[in-house]
């Protein structure tokens, strides 16, 4: 008879002792101190609607009419169901058909040697540098800086607006090349009306900008084609005070930016709700992951702010895989934008919103798992070695890549496999759906009538 109460008392004592320790070890107070230390603010979506300017941007975004040979659109490589990218290591430009993996079936297509960047929250003013190399960025005085330098056209509302018009003027992406350098499928047609054999980026881009506006609106024609008539209507509704002959590339960019900003704006993620005070928004494991992220992992040193990027440039010693925008199939990254040797092999810190959805990762899409990305930050040797095994030429670059590796990465404390798992769980807490549903974000059709790229 007395043994039952004894057992009960023993169990109660142990339980009381155990729970008291666990309760005191809650991570919330510490995590909130970290949030204060980093001055982290939650993402709060602004009110977005599909007004006339956004509708013009939507048409331009999905219509292959914008590209030189009229065979590719922004939506080809920025697919909503593929994390606003294309799900490929590197984008497949002109010369292919379809979206995402469908484009791999065309072996003669142009490869755009960088991973297509997602568009999440790109309408936010947090973004101070766009593209992997930040070639479109806000300068120290807040002015928009682009590869066009002093010849950059005026009138762009935002950095995104200035950036949005460059892919349509990139030969491999949307513009196309001369017939000498390609086929009808990759021909720039009337979008380039200068002799571009010298490959003069500024001349060609400005030429393409003017010709694109003319293609869209046929401003000099008294009997425009039906496509141009539709675009005239959309432009007039978006910019009611601008006469037809005063439309320029900035109006195209501003409309595209308005649409991208609205269509890819994200709802608050569990992390945002947690920062705003909802302590149950994160699981205990996600909280532990956040603690690693902001602490010993040093992740938040570069992946900082509301968008989880410092919009600066760092080298990770990512294998080159014989693809790149520069001579010898090398990608010098940021150095191509700044012409500074010390910027070689550095790329913009990727924002981490919805990063779990944007497979594959890295500037050349070499990472097929988030675990491999995180591991590579701490130890690039295995991946460099693996790359060398696959291609001995890779070994000749390894020393240089390591030499340009960011010294910040040397400060990462060793992370266990369990801690990397926790980090990945935390990254999941940065995911959320776009505010705008597909039913609104996708158009029924486009002025050219080519609906090939209207896909969820």
């Amino acid at each position: 008879m007395p043994f039952k109460p004894i057992g009960f008392i023993l169990a109660a004592l142990l339980a009381a002792a155990s729970t008291s320790v666990v309760a005191e070890n809650s991570l919330d107070p510490i995590l909130h101190k970290a949030i204060q230390a980093y001055q982290v603010k939650p993402h709060q979506p602004s009110e977005r609607r599909l007004g006339p300017k956004e509708k013009l941007g939507q048409a331009l975004f999905f219509d292959p009419f914008v590209s030189g040979p009229k065979k590719i659109a922004c939506a080809t490589c920025h697919v909503r169901s593929k994390g606003a990218g294309d799900g490929l290591p590197m984008a497949v430009g002109l010369g292919a058909k379809g979206i995402s993996t469908e484009r791999l079936a065309h072996s003669g297509a142009f490869i755009v040697p960088r991973n297509a960047l997602p568009f999440f929250n790109r309408g936010s003013k947090d973004f101070r540098a766009l593209f992997w190399d930040g070639r479109v960025q806000l300068g120290p005085t807040g002015l928009i800086e682009t590869p066009l330098g002093s010849r950059q056209p005026a009138g762009f509302d935002s950095l995104l607006a200035a950036a949005a018009v460059f892919p349509p003027a990139e030969p491999d992406e949307m513009l196309g090349r001369s017939l000498k350098r390609g086929t009808q499928d990759t021909y720039h047609a009337e979008l380039v009306t200068i002799d571009d054999e010298a490959n003069n980026l500024q001349e060609r881009t400005l030429n393409a900008f003017g010709n694109l506006v003319e293609r869209l609106l046929e401003t000099k024609s008294h009997n425009p084609q039906p496509v141009a008539l539709q675009y005239r209507k959309l432009f007039a509704e978006a910019y009611p005070r601008t006469p037809l002959n005063e439309f320029r590339i900035n109006h195209v960019g501003n409309a595209l930016a308005a649409y991208i900003g609205a269509a890819f704006e994200l709802k608050p993620a569990p992390w945002d709700r947690y920062v705003a005070g909802a302590t149950s928004a994160l699981t205990p494991e996600q909280k532990q992951g956040a603690f690693v992220f902001f602490g010993k992992g040093r992740c938040a040193v570069c992946h900082s702010g509301t968008q989880f990027s410092d919009f600066r440039f760092h080298g990770l010693a990512v294998p080159q895989m014989r693809v790149g925008k520069h001579n010898g199939y090398i990608d010098y990254g940021r150095a191509a934008a700044t012409s500074r040797g010390e910027d070689r092999f550095a790329f913009r810190t990727p924002p981490l919103r919805n990063v779990t959805e944007t497979f594959p990762w890295g500037h050349n899409g070499i990472f097929t798992s988030l675990e491999s990305v995180i591991t590579h930050h701490a130890n690039p040797v295995p991946m460099l070695y693996k790359a060398q095994q696959q291609d001995p030429e890779e070994g000749s670059n390894a020393g240089r890549l390591l030499g340009f590796r960011s010294p910040i990465l040397a400060e990462m404390a060793p992370l266990s496999k369990a801690e990397i798992e926790l980090l990945m769980k935390f990254l999941k807490a940065l995911s959320s759906e776009p505010v705008m549903p597909d039913s609104v974000a996708l158009p029924a059709t486009v002025p050219s009538g080519d609906r090939s790229f209207i896909r969820p």
Binding site: P2, I6, L13, N25, K296, D310, E411
Partner: protein, 131 residues
């Protein structure tokens, strides 16, 4: 007093004394043993992590690494030090629950041995001026 009442009193007094003794044994010996057994791995892990965080934070504060002295790196070092707070909390809780200082020291030592870390690492946290 009636014999039956005396028998009852004797029985209950013995029972109360037995429970009291048992309670003392459990609180004084059972509870510390159970708590140290249950938390020794976590305590050991936190002790090591705290040690490492203190080194890291001191290095980042002093800017002794290849990275330029970076305010964000320093903040990460400070946040990393929060593991020492967790260590302290667990240590205090274990002490409150009757685990002795000696027992905690032993767990710490065993942790260092398990990690193949030389004993001098254990006293390093007290030499933060070395950076």
């Amino acid at each position: 007093m009636r014999p039956r009442t005396i028998r009852r009193l004797r029985f209950w007094s013995q029972l109360v004394i037995a429970f009291s003794l048992l309670f003392i044994v459990i609180v004084e010996y059972g509870r510390p043993f159970a708590v140290s057994w249950y938390y020794q791995d976590e305590y050991s892990k936190l002790a090591l992590e705290c040690d490492q965080s203190m080194h890291d934070e001191a290095a980042l504060r002093a800017g002794t690494s290849g990275a330029a002295k970076d305010p964000a790196l320093e903040v990460s070092g400070m946040v990393g030090l929060a593991v020492c707070h967790q260590y302290d909390v667990l240590r205090k809780r274990m002490l409150i629950n009757g685990v002795s200082e000696e027992r905690l020291a032993l767990i710490g030592l065993k942790g260092l041995e398990n990690e193949q870390i030389p004993v001098n690492r254990m006293v390093d946290p007290h030499r933060m001026d070395r950076f």
